[in-house]
Amino acid sequence: MRPSLARVYRIKSFTLIFQHKPSFVAANHHQRTPIYFSSLSSSCPNLQIRKPQTPLFLRAASYSATLPDLKKWHQWATSLASSVGSTLVDLDNGPDSTLLLRELNWLIQDSFQDHHNSFIPQLPTTEFTRTRVDSQVVKLRVGLDELYRLWRQRVEERRPFQYIVGCEHWRDLVLSVEDGVLVPRPETELIVDLVSNVLLKESNRGLRDGLWADLGTGSGALAIAIGRLLGKHGRVIATDLSPVAVAVATFNVQRYALQDVVDVRQGSWFEPLKDLEGKLGGIISNPPYIPSNHISGLQAEVGRHEPRLALDGGFNGMDDLLHICNGAASFLKPAGFFAFETNGLEQCKFLVDYMDRNIKGSICNVSIVSDFAGIPRFVTGFRQ
């Protein structure tokens, strides 16, 4: 609940680094990532051994509050959310009141202990029932003060809801997330379906027991979902540069009891896979792809709070996508599959053109796949 000193220090050091990044990016474009990594690990070594936060819904219900106090909090939180109206939508495409109110319910869902039997609807009018309700105590996973603080952070500081509750529901998974780790997006859920379709084909049977890589795994979402699709001998290596992401992904992998299937390794893109050239059955990635000059205009939840490392794809957003694309040609084994998420049509076309010009001989069946909103989002294909 209360952040430890060490944790406060960590967050500060992160912010500091991120603030320095823009000039850094401009100066060291082609080798941005490795340098960034070394600067990170040297400036705050305790990041290496950090312990991930426990999501709200997994914490013990060691707090309590009375029903009237909770109702008061709820009224306050509701009116705070309602006061937003559509101002944030107009400002930076942020959340509107409807969405905030839905999130408020999810916050309640995560922070109240299962207790509905002892709750009584808002009908007590007689003195007898009123006393009964007033004296009722509700078990909570956070203190009432913290509930006030968290909701203020959500609405006033625009802290992403997922960082407030420490988790994100993604496909059929509930993944732990925290500051410093990109919140997995609904669009990315589709990559799992793309992989699933590939694995279902009889001709691709071998990939089910193959070695897969999720590059820039973040919370571990893709690695975990794909780890659960693979056969008995299938394995996923999940890499990430950020020590926070590595810690969180490891936590999530353990929570789904996939330690034997998903191996989380710290390092930039293919670096932790050096011995595996030509051996991967599949590569998936949702690398940073937002063009650097779009970062400042992002919705506050994203631009102000989510890790720039996971968002900024350099000048045209293609730096990491191109790097991964080149790597895929050498790391995939023949008939290996790849799927990458992009910023949209422009990047998809760019990537397909790039492959056509530079690695044509090694890649085949390249296609562009749209997300559920109809935006061309993914580039998929096979190693020849």
Binding site: F57, K71, H74, N93, G94, P95, T98, L99, L101, R102, E103, N105, W106, I108, Q109, D110, F112, D114, H116, F119, I120, P121, Q122, P160, F161, Q162, E168, H169, W170, R171, D172, L173, V174, L182, V183, R185, P186, E187, T188, E189, N286, Y289, I290, H294, L298, Q299, E301, V302, E306, A310, L311, E341, T342, N343, G344, D371, F372, A373, I375, R377
Partner: protein, 260 residues
């Protein structure tokens, strides 16, 4: 929250099945009945939902703004093509999904990493019938898709009627399977009675409604054709909220008393 919807539409709240909350609204602007469901799908997050769903409902009013509405004309005059419409429910999820247009309510904009809005709502439009099912209550898009699909199946069963030949009626197997064991027509090959939580229940429910519509809402006549007592069939009809409401809507339209 759905409070605006609730106020304007005069909700009748029925809390009967623990996992299913159904809100019936008399008519929408086009004159078609609109049903709103809240029915989570089975999963890890279902448990999370159930934990607090009822609590929040009771404490803070309606939690979900989920609607599933039936529209379009196809579902109204489907009697001519019996086998065709029956097939929808027999389809697997993937196959049924292919008949649907999926819409995620996303506003314009680049989406992806640009956006952190938890907009995981899903709306499915079943193109052959025009029936729309949607789900917003779950926190992941994947789960909302599963909920919407489940809801679509229920709506197909409720809204799409197949003609029944009463002269030579014999209940189809999927209907026999949802009947209580005391039915005289139920052979031992039917297995145990299938309840509302089984995904096969909707198939039986569709066949049962086909029969009830064919006998114009007469429970006693339908009971005879199913080898059941009127009481036993009534109990079955009352055991499932949307089934009961479909039957009572029909009975109301024929000037008959509702089943209670």
């Amino acid at each position: 929250m759905a409070s605006a919807m609730g106020k304007s539409l005069n909700l009748i709240l029925l809390l009967k099945h623990p996992s299913t909350r159904i809100v019936v609204v008399p008519k929408n602007c086009k004159g078609y009945p609109v049903i709103s469901f809240s029915n989570c799908c089975s999963s890890f997050s279902r448990r999370l939902h159930q934990q607090n769903q009822q609590l929040q409902q009771l404490l803070f009013g309606s939690k979900y703004s989920t609607t599933a509405s039936a529209g379009g004309s196809a579902s109204r005059d489907s009697n001519s093509s019996t086998s065709y419409y029956k097939k929808h429910l027999e389809m697997g999820d993937e196959e049924l999904m292919r008949q649907c247009e999926m819409d995620t309510f996303k506003a314009s904009g680049p989406g992806g990493q640009h956006r952190n809005k938890r907009e995981s709502a899903v709306r499915l439009k079943h193109l052959p019938t025009g029936i729309i099912a949607q789900a917003v209550e779950d926190r992941s898009q994947h789960m909302n898709r599963a909920s919407a699909l489940l809801r679509l199946r229920t709506l197909l069963a409720l809204r799409v009627r197949n003609s029944v030949d009463l002269e030579s009626y014999s209940p189809p197997k999927e209907l026999l399977q949802i009947l209580p064991p005391k039915s005289t027509l139920r052979g031992s090959d039917c297995g145990p009675q299938i309840g509302p939580n089984n995904s096969k229940f909707v198939l039986g429910m569709q066949a049962l409604l086909d029969l009830i519509f064919a006998v114009e809402g007469s429970v006693s006549q339908a009971a005879k054709l199913l080898g059941l007592s009127t009481g036993a069939l009534s109990r079955l009809l009352l055991s499932h909220d949307s089934l009961r409401m479909a039957v009572n809507d029909l009975r109301a339209s024929k000037g008959m008393k509702p089943l209670k």
